[in-house]
């Protein structure tokens, strides 16, 4: 069974550009989560999608946005990139049957903003 897959693996952008990151959840999972992991730091919660709707959002500016598609895959968009947006962006999925669920993570997209 395939795990959570993310693309691209690495992404290099310059300040002011836009970045689009993609995530495919484990088959049968309806919830998708996005986390930002800056170098040497923990994971900061960004967004949670379930059944195509945004369920919760972390303390990030509006230029961080996303969506979930009918097939439950998800996209994270970061507009007007800033240097401090450089980080590993991790996607996770879960069954979406309620809270207190295990999250399964992909390997992440390493975003570098120059």
């Amino acid at each position: 069974e395939a795990g959570v897959t993310q693309s691209p693996t690495h992404l290099i952008k310059t300040r002011g550009q836009q970045a689009t990151l993609r995530c495919s959840p484990i088959s049968g999972h309806t919830s998708v989560y996005w986390y930002q992991q800056a170098l040497g730091l923990g994971l900061q919660f960004l967004l949670w999608y379930d059944e195509g709707e945004e369920r919760n959002r972390g303390n990030f500016p509006p230029r961080f946005s996303g969506r979930q598609f009918p097939n439950y895959s998800s996209e994270l968009n970061v507009n007007a990139l800033e240097l401090e947006d450089s980080a590993l962006y991790l996607c996770a999925s879960s069954l979406g049957q309620g809270y207190n669920e295990k999250l399964f993570f992909g390997s992440g997209t390493q975003l570098s903003v120059l």
Partner: protein, 111 residues
């Protein structure tokens, strides 16, 4: 605010010894905790979880202990192996869908 913190940022142990990684949490209402392992270049991997109605849970070579009185969580790894070298995160779910991670403890296993 909510936070999950770790007592030690790094831990170095000898191969074959037992490892103990500690974690403190601040939200007494949290009722579900997870330990994740993150190897270099990979996403976090689920190790073990525990719910607040339990004090202890055992897996294969790992044990998680939960002390709700002092809001403390620990992960014990028996007979630590070089493959256990990684960063370990504890995480709590304190609000619907919001998994809060600590900064992480880097475990280094010396052969």
């Amino acid at each position: 605010g909510e936070s999950v913190g770790l007592h030690l940022p790094t831990l170095s142990v000898q191969e074959g010894d037992n490892s103990i990684i500690n974690c403190a949490y601040s939200n007494s209402a949290s009722d579900y905790f997870i330990w994740y392992k993150q190897e270099s270049g990979k996403g976090p991997q689920f190790i073990i979880d525990i719910r607040s109605n339990m004090d202890k849970r055992q897996g294969q070579r790992v044990t998680v202990l939960l002390n709700k009185t002092v809001k403390h969580l620990s992960l014990q790894i028996a007979a630590t192996q070089p493959g256990d070298s990684a960063v370990y995160f504890c995480a709590e779910i304190s609000a619907w869908g919001k998994l809060i991670f600590g900064q992480g403890t880097e475990l280094s296993v010396k052969p």
